[in-house]
């Protein structure tokens, strides 16, 4: 079956059941299941996440983006130091960047203190890390393509038009 169509359906709604997907795409459930397994096994689908607006959840939550300057190593370049940083569970996303700093690291914690402890005690002392700049997120407007703070746009079409 067409894996790309399946990915488009799941991209918009990861919670769609296999039955629903089979119905939408006109495939058997077995076929859909097999394709999903194939996409997962080949790391094309790498996870199913819920987009949460923590600000509304009445729950302590802090996000920060940390610029990390790092030194490359002979033969492995940035990959070895990147792996050490990426393995911390506090890190949710991490990228090697062009520009002033080498890495952008997204970190979440319950409080600012928790995040700064992570930076001060775990991240900054790593060998190869030369400097860090921690930027706390003050307000999240959009996350994973979903607008969080603004009014949804409604379907205001007439019911019947030529």
């Amino acid at each position: 079956m067409n894996g790309i169509m399946l990915l488009h359906c799941l991209e918009n709604d990861a919670r769609r059941s296999v039955t629903d997907l089979a119905d939408i795409l006109g495939e058997t459930e077995k076929e859909v299941q097999n394709t999903i397994r194939y996409l997962e096994d080949n790391k094309i689908i790498v996870g199913y996440h819920t987009v949460i607006n923590w600000d509304r959840a009445n729950n302590d939550h802090v996000d920060a983006i940390i610029e990390v300057s790092a030194k490359p190593e002979r033969s492995s370049g940035y990959d070895k130091i990147a792996e050490r940083i990426a393995r911390f569970p506090e890190v949710s996303d991490m990228y090697l960047m062009s520009g002033k700093s080498e890495f952008f690291v997204s970190v979440s914690g319950r409080t600012m203190r928790e995040v700064s402890d992570f930076v001060g005690q775990k991240l900054a002392p790593l060998e190869g890390v030369q400097a860090t700049v921690t930027c706390f997120v003050l307000k999240k407007y959009k996350s994973n393509g979903v607008i969080l703070e603004f009014e949804q746009e409604e379907d205001d079409r007439q019911l019947v038009t030529p």
Partner: protein, 392 residues
């Protein structure tokens, strides 16, 4: 006042729109699930809206040139060349208030009393009334399902008389979703050249084709000089409310169309024109995204309707499917009215698009897949109930 005496004969004799009739019926049931719209469900891409906002912030609020902003006309030339291989020069394109205005202008510029206009039905609703208003005579060709609703060159040739002035081609087609093949276009071009008539090619759905790319008849050898191509922003860029379209064709015809446009419209909305530049220049990816979504829904609808026993031909263009509902034993009007009344699902009777639409209904898939699934479920229930009633 005796208004009857005041109103013109032609205006009074215009056939009332079948869509309008059905709209009034649906309006009494606002909670219904509609599959009745002829416009996209996507919002206009943000870049386009941003360009409009920016133009307003910079105070671009005056009339533009009658033919439209120079920058937009340049983009139109580039666009129709890169997309459809139409070799238009700057003075052969101009900007209109939607494709609808361009249709009106083209017919008024070319069709006089007694001139015949060949219209392939079922089709969009405006060609016939405008022809009638100019005193022209609409000549209908019924396109048939066994030909995938593609008009055949022989059918056109058989309809041509001494008085034939214009052939209206509207592909990808509303309401059938039909598209013409290369060989159809070639055969039609031969007939049109032989009899020396003009083609009005309404290509408003050109970007919504699912089996390859749209081919414009104006790109065929010898056809540019006798084709008025009409296109616009409504369907491709989901910009129906912006009212922006354009016409492309030979300069002598465009000049006259612009002359009429000057008198009745002056110029298309300035804000929309600034937005249109960005649409044509920067939004190929947005269009592709929408097309892909439509394609999933298109396949879904065709499959579901066939599975539930409504024979439905697979359309390769626009965002409509056109199921044959005659197996229900009802007329199109009755079928749609009853479906609305019992299951609160609004679809449009095929007869709204010409008498030959009898036996069919138009279903728009410009809706989210979940909306479509609920509607299909209800249509299936409806068919089951009809069957049970027949058997009991």
């Amino acid at each position: 006042m005796d208004y009857e005496r005041l109103l013109t004969k032609q205006a009074k004799e215009m056939r009332p729109s079948g869509i309008r009739k059905f709209f009034d019926l649906v309006a009494e049931m606002p909670e219904c699930i509609s599959l009745g719209v002829g416009e996209p469900d996507f919002q206009t891409p943000w870049d386009i809206r941003d360009a409009a906002i920016n133009s307003l912030e910079r105070g671009r609020t005056k009339y533009t040139a009658n033919a439209g902003l120079k920058g937009l006309r340049e983009e139109i030339c580039r666009y129709v060349h890169r997309k459809y291989n139409i070799p238009a020069q700057m003075d052969e394109v101009f900007v209109t208030v939607g494709g609808s205005e361009a249709i009106d202008l083209a017919i008024r510029a070319l069709v006089g009393p007694g001139d015949e206009v060949i219209i392939c039905e079922p089709c969009y609703v405006s060609y016939e009334p405008i022809t009638t208003l100019t005193g022209g005579v609409p000549v209908h060709i019924t396109t048939r399902e066994e030909n995938d609703f593609r008009v055949q060159a022989e059918e056109i040739e058989a309809a041509i008389t001494e008085r034939t002035k214009m052939l209206v081609l509207a592909y990808p087609n509303n309401p059938t979703g039909a598209v013409l093949r290369h060989e159809d276009l070639e055969a039609i071009a031969e007939v049109v050249k032989k009899h020396d008539i003009i083609v009005l090619s309404d290509e408003i759905y050109a970007e919504l084709v699912y089996n390859g790319r749209h081919e414009s008849i104006a790109s065929l050898p010898g056809m540019y000089e006798r084709t008025i191509t009409i296109n616009g922003f409504s369907k491709a860029f989901s910009m129906t409310g912006w009212r922006l379209g354009y016409a492309v064709g030979p300069k002598p015809i465009m000049d006259v169309m612009i002359k009429i446009h000057q008198s009745c419209i002056m110029a298309a909305p300035t804000t929309s024109q600034y937005a249109g530049i960005v649409a044509l220049r920067d939004c190929d990816d947005d269009v592709e995204h929408m097309r892909r979504e439509y394609d999933i829904r298109r396949k879904y609808c065709v499959r579901k309707l066939n599975e539930m026993g409504l024979h439905t031909f697979e359309p390769f263009g626009a965002f409509y499917v056109f199921p044959d509902i005659s197996s229900s034993g009802m007329s199109s009007d009755d079928f749609c009215a009853k479906l609305l009344e019992r299951k609160h699902v609004a679809i449009v009777p095929g007869t709204a698009f010409g008498d030959c639409g009898e036996g069919f209904a138009r279903i728009s898939y410009a809706y989210s897949i979940d909306h479509l699934r609920e509607a299909m479920k209800r249509i299936e229930e409806f068919l089951k109930e009809l069957k049970e009633e027949k058997n009991s």
